[in-house]
Symmetry: C2
Subunit: 397 residues, 2 copies
């Protein structure tokens, strides 16, 4: 059994705060500050350029990829860390389109994170090869799958509602029609057990600053199915993906396997923080995590609906169709999220009316979830959100 008391002790959370926004940015793992300090002082400071070999910076993107691979169900050597999620989406899509040159449609849904759609539009605009991005409702993906589609590109968990696609079923159906599949695991990795390798998808990408707690701007990751990776032509063919970067060859020769998905120099300081963050996952059973996560979500839904019936559940009621977040719709949602923050409960808001709450057993307890529901109900029922200080709009993340 996973000991969540032990994992909770591994995170720093400000006094009095109940943090239900780890689906946007995970909190600080206590070990990360010391790890980064040591990396800077003992490695950068003392080893200087030799740190690339002596301190192992060069292969750190691979090692971190393998650590993430354990959490998402992929074999060693199939995941590479680096860049940002948007860049990894671009890499995957550029490769996927070349695998299906006779088809021109990229299918996605409007629950995909907008940046994924933007990156697809940017790539399509560059290619000028007649590709089209088609965006449907999440519920319509299944029926839209046909053999005119080149690539299916989805975020498994809808960032708005927490609605979860059935990865195995959709992948199987799409692949039977010759469609190449890309999964974005931004709201999946570290949220529940995954079997990305087993589902057979060609590509998966994700970020590490949400449920994996790698810190603001932590690098992203990309998975390529091992039997395909050596056929992938990297569109972003940077020198660290070269077969022999230190030959300084004028021509590009892709590295073996997942090495070719590297681009430029990896962010060594960010990687030290991410490495410390991944320590919290040692000893965590992903089945236990899912059970605990569902429990937290169910407590929240039950308590909020009991105490505050005016709110409208936007997430699927069926836990099997939901990631590790719960969204409630409320016309005064923006001000309510501000009022919650003023009382130490951090969630976030997505226009037009969604209040989002992420549930992460690694550092959130059932008691905290109950308290958060009480505070939310009090704000809504007392109309505390009407106070003028809560209505001011800014850039909400």
């Amino acid at each position: 059994m996973t000991d969540f008391n032990k994992t909770r002790a591994m995170f720093h959370l400000p006094e009095g705060v109940i943090y239900l926004d780890g689906n946007s940015l995970g909190p600080l793992p206590k070990a990360a500050t010391a790890r980064v300090k040591a990396m800077m002082a003992d490695e950068w400071g003392e080893m200087l350029i030799t740190g690339w070999n002596k301190a192992g910076w060069f292969m750190q993107p691979n090692r971190l990829g393998d650590r993430i691979g354990r959490l998402i169900g992929t074999p060693p050597g199939s995941v590479m860390v680096g860049d940002t999620l948007s860049i990894k989406v671009y890499q995957a899509l550029a490769a996927a389109l070349e695998m299906n040159p006779s088809r021109k449609i990229v299918l996605s849904d409007n629950g995909n994170f907008p940046s994924d759609l933007y990156m697809a539009r940017g790539l399509i605009g560059s290619l000028q090869q007649g590709h089209v991005l088609e965006v449907v409702n999440p519920e319509a993906v299944d029926t839209r799958l046909r053999d005119d589609i080149a690539v299916l590109m989805l975020t498994q968990v809808d960032y708005r509602t927490g609605r979860m696609h059935d990865m195995a079923a959709i992948t199987a159906k799409a692949q039977a029609m010759g469609i190449v599949v890309i999964w974005d695991l931004a709201h999946s990795a570290g949220a529940f057990a995954l079997d990305v390798g087993g589902c057979g998808a060609e590509f998966a990408v994700g970020c590490t600053y949400k449920y994996l707690n790698g810190g603001p701007g932590a690098p992203a990751f990309i998975y390529v199915r091992p039997d395909l990776v050596d056929k992938v032509r990297p569109a972003l063919s940077g020198w660290l993906g070269h077969e022999a970067p230190f030959d300084f060859d004028l021509n590009y020769r892709p590295g073996a396997g997942i090495m070719r998905m590297r681009v430029g120099t990896p962010p060594v300081i960010q990687m030290a923080a991410l490495d410390a963050a991944l320590d919290a996952w040692e000893g965590v059973d992903m089945g236990d995590l899912r059970t605990a996560s569902v429990n937290l979500c169910e407590i929240f839904i039950e308590e909020v609906e009991r105490l505050c019936p005016s709110l409208h559940l936007q997430s699927p009621r069926d836990a099997q169709m939901r990631g590790s977040q719960v969204s409630f719709g409320f016309e005064h949602g923006f001000a309510t999220i501000q009022a919650l923050a003023a009382r130490g409960v951090i969630g976030d808001f997505r226009a037009p009316d969604t209040m989002r709450f992420g549930f992460t057993p690694l550092y959130i307890s059932p008691d905290q979830v109950r308290r958060a529901a009480v505070v939310l109900a009090d704000i809504v029922n007392s109309r505390a959100y009407e106070a003028p200080e809560f209505s001011q709009r800014g850039a909400v993340t």
Copy 2:
């Protein structure tokens, strides 16, 4: 007058080390460790998601861009920090090619860093629009400029020899022929005074982990000429370059000006280190820096040639044609660089026979340069490089 005693005190260098490889990776600025620790503990740890606004993470790529802009001669609001240099090269080239759609040749030279050439090949391979990358000798660039060239893409300072292109003259000649110009400033930014804005080039890119001392994997930067930037279609159209990222619009609308060159979530921890590193440049006059840099290079050339005539100068003898590094050719160069490191003098090696030494007045003194020349001469003249422990090859960076 710039006080280089003061700047030298701002860097940590290991006891007994003379570091002549800051052209690969700058040393640790003493302030960086504390700055990063504070960012992690006080911002990430305490502000959590609200750090994007409260701690100013969101606009940090712009602020850092402006700080770099002062060093490279560009106006405020024209430089954006983020991603890696390879990604920034790709962004610039993708945009540049669209500005010159009737031409198909990308001209570069074999002194350009290989990753720039690889990224160009990757982009051309994706576009399938008949583009060709033509790579000539650095000396041949000038005569190869003709009106069939779409984009001229050069690294100003040759990473092998330190040979410097005349940025103003080449830009003017190329632009008179309708060629779009991209300068890679990897070995220029922080190495000497630049007038990137004044030369009129459309694009410039660079990294911050060499002469700017931002740390391993520090983010890159991109400059776009202000009168053009609003016409640039971003190929890497990530959400943080969107006009209104928090509208979560399904369609991409590029942000105003340089904002559109943002892609994904910026590396906040790396940016804290870079910000501390840039503090060392406050009060540094770039003219003084150049004078001091030339002085260090001249001392090294003079002493090495005097003490050790068997080495062959590969860098231009004319300081005006040289960046802030000096290269000597030597058939036993690899082993000699290892032998130097064993005696505390850090340079680096580039195949087949180049020993490179970077000179950075911010933390290198004339006395250190003289001592380094003595050690080098002793190793060469005594054939100390023949010791078996110095001949073993590994990945040298």
